[in-house]
């Protein structure tokens, strides 16, 4: 029973924290300089990880898909399978999980360290709203960066898939692209990419919550980093299920 009440309390606190992010992001003064700084931190520094992972994943997926489709004599479908699966699901989800690992742990650890070393108190003592200055820009950076990183992952995956396929069947690049995008509609592409903005909100809010609210000193730094990654990853997967249902509802043609 105590566990249940603590869980409910935790959900409430995280919910209010997320709500405060939304409200404060709409309330001036706006921390543009901090947003750009965080955007560079979240976006630029995650780009290599996302591109390399997407490329490798694309190559591996094509190898597996080829083995299966050869059995049915449908190897010409490989580019389409690759594109649809990457743009609809693999790209958004894997980019979200990668960012939860790299950025989520970073945000959690940095903010927890700032709390432990009284830097957050120092910001408040300088009449600066520490929540608006530290938390809101980090969450916004995640929300803005993740859809773009997802696009990079999608295209890196396509490139990896193409190179893998080219080595096996010597397929021409133009033919590969034509087949890849033959079955892809805008609704397959836009909605799943935009849903990663929600993933970004989850990563930014959850990891900021753990870092900003810790009261365990140096020990809290490690805990905040770990908890940020675990809960962000879990919530991304859960949110993915709900968002897919929403996308199917809003764009019924994608559910066919």
């Amino acid at each position: 029973m105590r566990w249940l009440s603590k869980s409910v309390e935790f959900v409430g606190k995280v919910g209010l924290f997320g709500l405060r992010v939304v409200v404060d992001s709409l309330r001036p003064p706006f921390e543009f300089a901090q947003c750009f700084r965080q955007l560079a931190e979240v976006g630029n520094k995650s780009l290599a990880l996302v591109v390399v992972s997407g490329f490798a994943l694309g190559a591996v997926m094509t190898l597996h898909t080829r083995n299966t489709l050869v059995t049915f004599g449908a190897t010409s479908m490989i580019p389409a399978v690759q594109a649809v699966s990457f743009f609809v699901e693999i790209g958004p989800l894997v980019a979200g999980l990668l960012l939860a690992g790299r950025v989520g742990s970073g945000i959690g650890a940095v903010l927890a360290n700032m709390r432990a070393s009284e830097q957050i108190d120092a910001i408040e003592s300088l009449s600066i709203d520490s929540f608006k200055y530290l938390v809101v820009p980090r969450v916004l950076a995640c929300v803005i960066a993740l859809p773009f990183l997802t696009l990079f992952m999608d295209f890196a995956g396509l490139l990896g898939g193409f190179l893998s396929e080219e080595l096996s069947s010597h397929i021409a690049p133009i033919l590969y692209l034509n087949r890849a995008f033959e079955y892809l509609q805008w609704s397959n592409f836009i909605a799943p990419t935009l849903k990663t903005a929600v993933f970004g909100f989850i990563i930014g809010s959850i990891s900021s919550y753990f870092g900003y609210t810790t009261d365990k000193g140096a020990q809290g730094v490690g805990e905040a980093a770990t908890n940020s990654v675990v809960l962000s990853s879990l919530l991304i997967i859960v949110a993915d299920v709900l968002l897919i249902k929403c996308i199917f509802f809003l764009f019924p043609e994608t559910a066919v």
Partner: protein
């Protein structure tokens, strides 16, 4: 009895607990503008909490805390923002922002809270850094500074907005006697030249004797002695007397 207009900080029957532990129990005192108060006492007796209550980084369970005649306990964020501009805070470990250079650490409050131009900010930062002996270190990050330099940098940041009241949490802890004496000298200069009120939490009784007009001794959340160094050294309270006369923590 002090004129209310000259009172810099006043506590009225302040209580503060964390869970079941009471860290401040019915604490009342005041200090005037231009005076220095040193708070002494064993670790965990509520000295740092007292500073955080003045800065309104925490709220008391009951009682009133006045800063320059404004009760910060019942104040909203907007009012607090104005009050905090009158306060400077030197944190125990300086609390410099890791991701900013020393120059940026000092320029941040100036660019946010004043209408100074870039050139004016450069001038003020250079002047304050030179004042604390760090004139050539503005481009360094906090990680590249020694303990004493960090303390001086923290003091520079606390002074950059020319506060009427300066709060210092153990300004000489972890420093050698010479560096500690330099920090005390900087604080004294501030008090004498700018009539800044100082509230200093310290374990350094020698430093307190040099700087303080008033000494307060906290023990188990109670303010067991308050007055001049001489008055506290003759206090009926044994803890207070020992702290002052033996010059070390009990």
């Amino acid at each position: 009895m002090s004129d209310p207009k000259t009172i810099a900080v006043e506590f009225k029957r302040v209580m503060k607990s964390f869970g079941t532990k009471r860290v401040l129990n019915d604490v009342s005192f005041h200090i005037d503008q231009g005076q220095a108060l040193c708070l002494l006492g064993r670790s965990g007796t509520g000295k740092s909490v007292t500073l955080k209550l003045i800065m309104a980084l925490m709220r008391p369970d009951s009682g009133e805390v006045y800063v320059d005649q404004d009760n910060v306990v019942s104040m909203g964020e907007k009012g607090l923002s104005l009050v905090r501009k009158k306060l400077g805070y030197l944190f125990q470990d300086a609390a410099l922002f890791d991701s900013l250079t020393l120059y940026e650490n000092l320029a941040l409050p100036l660019s946010r809270l004043t209408k100074k131009s870039k050139d004016e900010i450069d001038d003020v930062v250079h002047h304050v850094l030179t004042d604390v002996g760090l004139g050539g270190d503005g481009a360094k990050y906090p990680s590249a500074l020694s303990g004493g330099m960090k303390k001086r940098a923290g003091l520079a940041r606390a002074l950059v907005l020319e506060p009427k009241i300066l709060l210092a949490d153990e300004p000489s802890s972890g420093l050698d006697r010479i560096t500690a004496s330099e920090i005390d000298g900087l604080l004294m200069r501030r008090k004498v030249e700018h009539r800044t009120a100082l509230i200093i939490v310290t374990h350094d009784v020698h430093g307190a004797r040099r700087v303080a007009d008033r000494v307060g001794v906290l023990d188990k959340g109670n303010l067991v002695a308050f007055g001049s160094v001489d008055e506290v050294s003759q206090s009926e309270n044994e803890v207070a007397r020992k702290l002052i006369t033996e010059g070390s923590n009990v």
